[in-house]
Amino acid sequence: MNDLLSLLVLGLASAAIYAVAASGLVVTYTTSGIFNFAHGAVAMVSAFVYWQLSSPDAWGLPVPVALVLTLFVFAPGLGWGIDRLLMRRLHDASPMIRIVVPIGLLVALIQVATVIWPPGELTASVPLFFAGRSVELGGVVIEYHQLVVFAAAIAVAIGLRILLYGTRIGVAMRAVVDSRELAALNGVSPDRVSGLAWALGCSLAALAGILVAPILKLDQTQLTLLVINAYAVAMVGRLRSLPMAAVGAVILGLSREAASRYDESLPFWITKDTVPALMLFVVLLVVPQEKASVFRDQPDRSSVPDPSWRTVVLGCIGLVVAALVVPAVFEGRTLDAVGYGMALSIVALSLVPLTGFAGQISLAPLAFAGIGAVVMYRWGSDGNPLALVAVVALCAAVGALVALPALRLKGLYLALSTFAFALFCEKAVFPNVDEFSQGDASYERLHLGPWTAASDRSYLVLLTVAFVVLALGVTALRRGPMGRRLQAMKDSPAACATMGLDLTALKLEVFALSAAIAGLGGALLGGWRGKLGTEQFSLLAGALPGLPLVLLTVVGGIAAVSGALVGGLALAMFPEIAEAVPALANLMTVLPGLAGISLAANPDGAVAQTVAQVGAAIERLRGQAPPRDTGPARALALLAPAAPSMVPERIAVGASAAGVDLAAVDDETGLAWGRCRVDP
């Protein structure tokens, strides 16, 4: 009985924190339509700021002052700034950009926090509120801190209810949810409302962060991940309902507590660390998607470059030659980083058909790479290349298996389900492979009979050739029927279905293909590094490679093989640049996140955009001369595909908002006012 009561108290205490965090997510999502992936990171940064203000080891302000400054000055200011600088640009962005920019913010905030409060040097902790004081209830000791948590959650619930239903601004917030345009017509400023919502959402995140920090160590990734549990909770209410989110919080709080208490009698894959990921995955499948329609809601206007075969082949030859030369020029850490980057490029290449061509957003490429590495460790750690066949087959099977329940998901929901899968791999799969969990799984280099890739040079060439072969395959796919089908599916699933395309089969195929490519990258990385472990394949922990790899690939241009190369190499080389030029160290740490954020301005990838601008400037200097077909021009074209032609959408204002077909009006009047198009 006591046991049950203490489970209840502990479970509900966690639930209260999740509820506060989730309510912040719901407030921002409902008013701006953007899911704040960075919510956990805002909570984490706010906890650090609170520590900085209040700790006797830092500035030592009184606790109430520190609380007020963090909750009512810092966090709202941060939220308002995020809305002002980033989120307002995303209203008309494609689904992918709306997902990737907040992830960039998440990564950037974690990285900024590591720069300001270096994890190694700082052993900070936030004390419990009223530490040491407790009451006893039915034989169960309840700490004052837990009471504070309960009180805070109840206050937030009542406060939000009054705000949303009893005040003018609350009504305005709910109006903006229903229709931004109509709210604006009725004198509500949608921008002011969304700024306020982000300020409020970030304050709630900060409150959750401050409440949870004393229970954990003050650590950038741990704190962030804990608040990420709120994803599952908020999803119970379809990101819209606060009461349902509270129900979700209670379910998660209690089931995590139960999982940690009855650890022994549960299967290995159900632990308090995996429960949030499992819950998120299940909730995504059970809760109906917001617009469960086959029609697209926000058209994706990204372009898929189509370089000529000559360009691609020339680029590939150049790459292999570079791989032959690099080991003669570099050695040690730098050479290691190049090989690591090449393997990561193969992993990133898995996103090109899946996300670039087909528009299916996956945040789990590195998790599939990890599965590939585990399979390779089991059957091919002696360097037997036949194990690669097993890697491809098993990863493809796992990819299809993960895709199967996720088939009806798209956009944000699909991204979150792959996020849950990656988290599950990190917490349940990799830790259960003994040496792998220790980062001590050793691999020999591949050999086939008398041929062996023992030297660094030969293995680097092997990695590069693998990338080149896969890149050529992906290019062939792009130019063939399947490439057309994948793009067609991205542009209009409804039209595809009514043309006889089996969307289910196509999605399964592309998920399996993508997982197989990623797995191959992970398996080949083993031979290069010699030793691998969970840390190389995690979403967020350690050097947090998972999300930055996705970010940098999108920045590089996710619809081109060159984008994968840029993404993989950049992620591997940034730390090397930091090492070589200490003045740039902080910049290099923060760069992946900043690059992700930059997509708010350059949705087709900063690299593509920049090169296109430089190209246009050169054109102007040359006096509008057509581009010359030179070798360097081709190499440039390979690395950075041409900028897409801009086709602004028809804006629904005035007559068109009222449902009048402007094109018909145009045709009748002989004018072209309804159309706003720039032909290439």
């Binding site: 009514t498 089996d502 198009r677 290439p680």
Partner: protein
């Protein structure tokens, strides 16, 4: 004989009956009209026939076979083709690749897909624009491309959702000619269109929907004389027959 038949199909969205017991017969070699005010349930009927929307009640038969539970892509392969009122082109693909994708999905052995795609584009008069990105087309051309793409699927029944909206007079005439040819070739066409004179000129048989229900069914002359249809949709004093 009717190649496509719907029996008492109904669709309920929450408390709203979008389509309420609609029965249609679409014969081969003829153009059947489906008209009615906005919100009458025309597009929802199309979605039910093509399998994008499951009906709450009722059945859809294609060539005598019950296809009500068949998925959209299987129905397409069985011969149901359509265009969309709100354009559903593959905007990032070229005009040629839009049609080529359709050809490849419905390929017959021995056919050269590129040549087949070109001939479909020539038929609708878009051959000159084959290389441009589909989302740069004008509305009129985009509608013609949707027509070419749906023809490339080798349909036995073609459902056209407001194909003439956004077309100028010349384009409308060419479009009417193409439709006439298709029907003469034996294709069954179901046409949703607000251009009433065009409907009266082309259609052999017309069904009028209002608030999800069938208001009237019959030949153009019967429909034009129907007082209920005049009240609900056509309006008084409309001499639609003489409009062209």
């Amino acid at each position: 004989m009717s190649i496509l038949e719907t029996t008492e199909i109904s669709v309920r969205f929450g408390g709203h009956m979008a389509v309420d017991g609609v029965s249609l017969r679409v014969p081969e070699g003829a153009i059947t009209g489906l008209i009615g005010p906005n919100g009458a349930g025309k597009t929802t009927t199309f979605n039910v026939i093509t399998g994008l929307q499951a009906p709450t009640r009722g059945k859809v038969h294609l060539a005598g076979k019950d296809v009500t539970r068949l998925s959209a892509h299987k129905r397409a392969r069985a011969g149901v083709g359509r265009t969309f009122q709100r354009l559903e082109l593959f905007g990032s693909l070229s005009v040629r690749d839009n049609v080529l994708t359709a050809v490849e999905l419905n390929r017959v052995p021995g056919e050269d897909p590129r040549r087949a795609a070109s001939s479909h584009l020539e038929r609708v008069g878009l051959a000159d624009l084959a290389g441009v990105r589909a989302d740069t087309l004008s509305t009129g051309n985009a509608r013609l491309l949707e027509l070419a793409r749906s023809l490339a699927c080798r349909p036995r029944v073609l459902l056209l959702d407001e194909p003439a909206s956004g077309l100028d007079d010349e384009e409308t005439d060419r479009f009417a000619d193409i439709l006439g040819e298709l029907a003469a070739d034996g294709l069954a066409v179901l046409l949703v269109e607000h251009d009433v004179p065009l409907v009266m000129r082309l259609c052999h048989d017309i069904t009028v929907l209002n608030f999800g229900r069938v208001l009237a069914q019959g030949s153009p002359s019967v429909i034009q004389a129907d007082q209920q249809v005049i009240d609900a949709y056509l309006g008084q004093g409309t001499d639609v027959g003489a409009a062209r």
